[in-house]
């Protein structure tokens, strides 16, 4: 049953060192505030799961939270590479990082299978792809009817999943609209879930087939306006594309990175996100200034 709490309390209650944790959001609704709170509370040895590690995992990895990463695309989308992740993989800085790498199709199927409580996912994938030579968690099995070789991967079942959504109602039901990504699966595949929302409203007035997660599938809800910034929340604020471009520079150097994290993450609270996002509302795209407030 969903409890309304502060993000600090949710992270404190649900997290511990060594857990398998997914923070999801496919470009849209990326839970930046949750990532920052996990970093601030100093959790270590996490197995991080995410299709597109993106800035949030670059930050968590660079701050030494993770010992393993399960992923399918480790880039800063449209900008370039993830420099903290590279430093961990190439130079074991700040700590060694084991990786388990998949394709998007495999991860999407694995989350779907996790939400369906299956032990594995089956799909027609990895044909000719070398990943299956380097990842022992990719196996080929035969269709029992046609004999066709199909790819199998273990389902994803995180200990905790974090997502960001537009709205909760007072009962604790969650509404996600727009690019819905893999968030429903992230929550349903996890043992526990934490959802940050832009706002809490009395009652939804939406389409009968809108993506809604009932209150009994959610453990903690924290109202954190702007929590996705510099990602975006459809209907609230736009993607702060400049922040993504700036990250490429800020993350290139270890000292610059640490200095930036100290100032913009370690010395902050979740409240800071409301201010960061207010300059990028959809009606005034191009006004944000997240990285240098």
């Amino acid at each position: 049953m969903a409890q309304f709490v502060s993000l600090q309390d949710a992270v404190r209650d649900v997290m511990s060192d060594g857990l398998c944790v997914a923070l999801e959001g496919f470009t849209h609704l990326i839970p930046h505030a949750s990532a920052h709170e996990i970093i601030r509370q100093g959790f270590k040895n996490l197995t991080l799961v995410r299709m597109t590690p993106d800035i949030i995992y670059d930050q968590m990895i660079g701050m030494g939270c993770a010992s393993k990463l399960i992923f399918s695309y480790a880039g800063n989308p449209g900008v370039g590479l993830l420099r903290r992740l590279r430093d961990a993989v190439e130079n074991q800085w700040p700590v060694p990082l084991e990786i388990e790498e998949h394709s998007h199709a495999a991860m999407a199927n694995a989350y779907e299978a996790g939400a369906a409580a299956m032990p594995c996912a089956l799909f027609r994938g990895y044909l000719g792809a070398e990943l299956k030579q380097v990842n022992p968690n990719i196996k080929m099995i035969s269709c029992p009817f046609t004999g066709e070789a199909l790819a199998a991967v273990p389902s994803i079942r995180p200990d905790v999943s974090f997502i960001h959504a537009q709205k909760a109602d007072r009962k604790g039901n969650i509404l996600i609209e727009g690019i819905i990504g893999i968030q429903k699966e992230a929550v349903l595949s996890a043992a526990k879930s934490v959802v940050t929302v832009e706002e809490i409203i009395d009652e939804f007035d939406t389409h009968p087939n809108a993506v809604i997660l009932p209150h009994w599938t959610i453990d903690y809800i924290a109202e954190v306006p702007g929590a996705a910034h510099p990602s975006y929340a459809q209907g609230y604020y736009a993607r702060d594309n400049s922040a993504y471009k700036e990250w490429d520079i800020l993350s290139a150097d270890r000292d610059l990175f640490l200095k930036w994290m100290a100032e913009h993450v370690m010395q902050q609270t979740p409240d800071v996100f409301a201010k960061r996002a207010q300059f990028t509302n959809p009606q005034s795209t191009g006004q944000g200034d997240s990285c240098d407030e």
Partner: protein, 262 residues
């Protein structure tokens, strides 16, 4: 080699994007990779292929953005889409379901058979450079009806042997693809900043069929790591016309304005 840019008042990048856009038709259903492919697909939609269906892996189907998205999931894509589905549905029903006619990819490293590496330079377990990885590409490469590839030429990007098979093209050529049980056609065209390449019908090696205006065979070879085969009937890529150039430049102008912060 860049002289044609001044002479004809367009850049080799513009030539590449416009040549790539011309490959697309209104009845194509195109799974769009980010970057160069995205620009080409949207120029096609805004010029000669207004009814083309553009799909981004974030779940947006039939999208018509006014500006180029920076990522594959910008809000603009959803705002203008016919509908937006979940990521598992995108990969299961739409890509694996065989509903995509063209998968349009970029590449960090490519070989002459259209195999693509976007994973690592060096050894996988001890990489010299760790790149982003495959994302959607491994299954786009095997499940979309045909694959179009667009990328700038260089000795680093067009290599005799790729370091890692992220996405399978034609393997070592001939019917390697069919032998693996892949039913789709694979790469059918490569559009670079210098030329247009198509696979030889039998060997499947990419051969140059068109040179862009002002580009010589020597230019192409100088920017390619394998020994290039040229078609016997090589032709010059038609110059960008005023409409194409205008559509592309306006698109970039709107995009830059939207991504700028004051």
């Amino acid at each position: 080699m860049n002289s044609h840019a001044e002479k004809n008042e367009f850049t080799s990048d513009e030539m590449m994007t416009i040549a790539a856009s011309r490959m697309l038709k209104s009845d194509d259903v195109c799974f769009v990779g980010i970057g160069a492919p995205s620009a080409a697909c949207n120029v096609a939609r805004l010029s000669h292929a207004p009814d083309i269906t553009l799909i981004y892996e974030s779940g947006t189907i039939g999208t018509a953005p006014d500006i180029l998205p920076l990522s594959i999931g910008d809000g603009e894509l959803c705002d203008t889409a016919l509908t937006t589905v979940s990521v598992p549905e995108m990969f299961r029903y739409w890509l694996q379901g065989g509903r995509i006619t063209i998968g349009f990819l970029g590449a960090a490293q490519i070989d002459k058979f259209g195999n693509i590496n976007t994973t690592v330079i060096g050894d996988y377990h001890n990489p010299k450079t760790r790149m982003p990885g495959g994302g959607g590409a491994p299954e786009i490469a095997s499940q979309a009806g045909q694959i179009y590839i667009t990328m700038k030429q260089s000795l680093r990007s067009m290599v005799p042997k790729i370091d890692f098979f992220t996405s399978y093209g034609h393997g070592n050529g001939y019917d390697d693809r069919q032998k693996l049980g892949i039913k789709t056609t694979g790469p059918t065209v490569l559009i670079t900043d210098l030329a247009i390449w198509k696979p030889h019908p039998e060997t499947k090696e990419f051969i140059v069929t068109n040179l862009h205006a002002g580009v010589s065979k020597e230019d192409v070879q100088a920017h390619c790591g394998w020994e290039v085969t040229f078609s016997k009937q090589i032709t010059t890529t038609p110059l960008p016309d005023a409409t194409e150039l205008n559509v592309l430049r306006e698109l970039h102008k709107r995009t830059n304005a939207a991504h700028q912060r004051i």
